[in-house]
C-alpha cells in the first residue's frame, strides 16, 4: 500500500514537469506582449524595454523557465504581472472557492446520479427507467453556462429567491453548485444504471435472492457495493473535469475561483498567473485520480496494492 502510494507520487512528478513545460511554452506563444499591455499606448519603447527587463521577460526562455520552476519550488509561483503581488496570495483563496464549489457539486451529482441510476435499474425498461435516462442524457447534452442562465432566470429574476452571483453565503453556493453538478449527475446516473443492471443479473445476486433475502437487502447489501466500483471511477473522472466546468460556472455566477482567475490571467497575458492556475488544475486532476485508485481498495477487498 505504502509502496504503491510512493510509486504513484513519484510518477506524478515527471508528469507535472512535462505539463509545466507545455504550459510555459503555450502561454508564451499567445500573441500579445504583457509589457506592451501593461505599459499602455503612451509608453515609449524605453518604458517597454525597462518593463521587460524588470520582469525578466528579456531573458532566454530556458532561464525564464528555470526561474519559474524555482518560484514553484519556493511555493510562491512568482509575482502576478497584473497585481504585482505573489501569485500564491491570490491563488489560495481562489483554490478554496473552487474546491468548495466542486466538492458541493460532486456530492450533489453523486447523490442525484446514484439515486436515479438505482431507480432506473430496479425497473429496467419501465417508464421510470426511460424517463430518468432521457433526463440524464439531457443533463449530459446541456451546456453548463446555459443551465446556469436558466437557473438564474428562474430563481433570481422570476422568484427572486437566490442571489444571481457572488460569493459568501450558502445561498450563493446553491445555484453554481447545481449548475456544475448537472453534467456529472447525468454521466454518473448512466454508469450507475448499467453497472447495477449487470450486477443484478449475476449469479451471486440470484443466490442471495434464492436464499430468501428481501429485495431491499439484496440490492443494498450485495449488489450496490460491487456496482459502485465503476461509478466511483466515473465520479472521480468527473470531479477531475470539474475544473474545466468551473471555468464556465464561475464566469456566469462571478464566483471568485481558479477558473475565473485563469480567464482573467489569459486575457491580461499574466504569464505567472496562468501557469500557476493550469498547474493547480493538472495537479488536482492527478491527485483525484490517485484518490480514486486508493478508494477502490476500501470498497473492493479483492484489490490490494502490494
Amino acid at each position: 500500500m505504502q509502496r504503491f502510494l510512493i510509486e504513484r507520487l513519484a510518477l506524478l512528478l515527471p508528469n507535472l514537469l512535462g505539463i509545466s513545460i507545455i504550459v510555459f511554452l503555450l502561454v508564451r506563444a499567445i500573441p500579445g506582449d504583457p509589457a506592451v499591455l501593461m505599459v499602455g499606448d503612451l509608453g515609449t519603447p524605453e518604458d517597454i524595454a525597462y518593463f521587460r527587463q524588470q520582469w525578466g521577460l528579456d531573458r532566454p526562455l530556458v532561464e525564464q523557465y528555470l526561474r519559474f520552476l524555482s518560484h514553484v519550488g519556493r511555493g510562491d509561483f512568482g509575482r502576478s504581472i497584473l497585481t504585482q503581488s505573489p501569485v500564491i496570495h491570490e491563488l489560495v483563496p481562489r483554490i478554496q472557492a473552487t474546491v468548495l464549489l466542486a466538492a458541493t457539486a460532486i456530492v450533489i451529482a453523486i447523490t442525484l446520479g446514484v439515486l436515479a441510476g438505482i431507480a432506473a435499474a430496479l425497473r429496467p425498461y419501465s417508464l421510470v427507467d426511460h424517463g430518468t435516462m432521457i433526463l440524464a442524457l439531457t443533463g449530459v447534452s446541456t451546456p453548463i453556462f446555459w443551465t446556469g442562465l436558466v437557473l438564474m432566470l428562474i430563481f433570481s429574476v422570476r422568484l427572486q429567491w437566490l442571489p444571481p452571483g457572488g460569493y459568501g453565503t450558502p445561498w450563493h453556493l446553491l445555484m453554481p453548485a447545481f449548475t456544475l453538478a448537472l453534467f456529472a449527475a447525468g454521466v454518473i446516473a448512466r454508469q450507475a444504471r448499467s453497472s447495477l443492471l449487470e450486477v443484478l443479473g449475476s449469479d451471486y445476486v440470484r443466490t442471495a435472492k434464492a436464499k430468501g433475502l428481501a429485495e431491499r437487502q439484496v440490492v443494498s447489501r450485495h449488489a450496490l457495493r460491487n456496482a459502485l466500483i465503476p461509478v466511483i471511477t466515473v465520479a472521480g473522472l468527473q470531479f477531475g473535469q470539474m475544473l474545466g466546468g468551473s471555468i464556465l460556472t464561475e464566469t456566469v455566477f462571478s464566483w471568485p475561483g481558479i477558473g475565473s482567475y485563469l480567464i482573467q490571467g489569459l486575457l491580461g497575458r499574466d504569464y505567472p498567473a496562468v501557469q500557476a492556475a493550469v498547474l493547480v488544475g493538472a495537479t488536482w486532476f492527478a491527485l483525484v485520480n490517485l484518490l480514486v485508485d486508493l478508494l477502490y481498495g476500501f470498497i473492493d477487498p479483492r484489490i490490494h496494492y502490494a
Binding site: 508528469n15 503555450l26 500573441p31 425498461y125 451546456p143 485563469l262
Partner: protein
C-alpha cells in the same frame, strides 16, 4: 433544417433593425428578435449550420491526427509508443475545455481557430482508442498471415488495422461531435470562439445574457437549440454503440431494435 435553412429563409441573420429590438416571439419573428433587432429564427437556423460544421470539422481533424498517431504508437511500439503516449497522457490530464481555451488563445479568437482548438483537444481520445485496438490486433494470426504473405506495413495498417478500429471510432465520433458543439458554444460564450455578428449559438448567448432580465427568449432559444442538437448526437452515439458492440446489444432498448 439546418442544412436547407438558408434556401428557405430569405431573412439575413445579420440584418439589423434597431426599431424592432428584443421583441418577443410573434408571427412576424417566430423566435422574436435580439438586442440589435435581428430575426432570432434566422440566426438560430444559421447558427445550426455553423455548429454542425464545427462538429464535423473538429471531429475530422481529431480523427485525421489522432488515428495515425495511435496506429504509429501501437505498430512501432518501443520508444515511439512511450513518447507518444506520454504526450497523450499529458494532454488528457487537462480538462478538454481548458486545453481548447489555451490553444484558441494562442491561435487568436475566431470560429476557424475554435474548430482547430477543439480538434486538437479531442485528438488524444482517438489516439488512445486506436492504439488500444491496434495493440490487441497486432499479434493476431490474420495480421501475421498478411505479413507472411509479404504485405507492406502501410497495407496492413490501411486494410487490416483501421477497419477493425472503426466501430469504437464511429461511436466516439458521434459522441464527440456533440461534445465539440458544446465546446464551441463555451468558447463562443467566453468570447474566444466565433466573433459577433456571427450567429454562432454560444456567441449569441454571451451577448444575450445581458438581456436575461428583460428578454429571456434571447437566452432560452439558442440554448435550447444547443441542447437539442447535442442530445441528438448523443442519442445517435448510444444507438450506434448498441448496434456495433455485440456485448452491449440489447442492453439499452431491449427488444426495440436500434434507434
Amino acid at each position: 433544417m439546418a442544412l436547407f435553412g438558408p434556401l428557405v429563409l430569405d431573412q439575413d441573420p445579420t440584418l439589423t433593425d434597431l426599431g424592432a429590438r428584443l421583441q418577443s416571439p410573434s408571427t412576424a419573428h417566430w423566435f422574436g428578435t435580439d438586442e440589435l433587432g435581428r430575426d432570432l429564427f434566422a440566426r438560430v437556423v444559421h447558427g445550426g449550420r455553423i455548429s454542425l460544421s464545427i462538429g464535423l470539422v473538429s471531429v475530422s481533424l481529431g480523427l485525421l491526427v489522432g488515428v495515425p498517431l495511435g496506429v504509429i504508437a501501437a505498430y512501432y511500439g518501443g520508444w515511439t509508443d512511450k513518447i507518444l503516449m506520454r504526450v497523450v497522457d499529458i494532454m488528457l490530464s487537462f480538462p478538454t475545455i481548458l486545453l481548447a481555451i489555451v490553444v484558441v488563445t494562442v491561435l487568436g479568437p475566431s470560429l476557424y481557430n475554435a474548430m482547430v482548438a477543439i480538434g486538437i483537444a479531442q485528438m488524444p481520445v482517438y489516439a488512445r482508442i486506436v492504439r488500444g485496438v491496434a495493440l490487441s490486433l497486432r499479434e493476431q494470426e490474420f495480421i501475421q498471415a498478411a505479413r507472411a504473405l509479404g504485405a507492406s506495413d502501410a497495407r496492413i495498417v490501411v486494410r487490416h488495422l483501421i477497419p477493425n478500429c472503426l466501430p469504437p471510432l464511429i461511436v466516439q465520433s458521434s459522441l464527440l461531435t456533440g461534445a465539440a458543439i458544446i465546446s464551441a458554444a463555451y468558447l463562443g460564450f467566453l468570447g474566444l470562439g466565433a466573433q459577433p455578428p456571427s450567429p454562432e449559438w454560444g456567441t449569441m448567448l454571451s451577448k444575450g445574457r445581458l438581456y436575461l432580465r428583460s428578454s429571456p427568449h434571447v437566452v432560452l432559444i439558442p440554448g435550447a437549440a444547443i441542447v437539442l442538437s447535442v442530445l441528438s448526437f448523443n442519442l445517435l452515439g448510444d444507438g450506434l454503440r448498441e448496434a456495433l458492440d455485440p456485448r452491449l446489444r440489447g442492453t439499452l432498448f431491449r427488444g426495440r431494435g436500434v434507434r
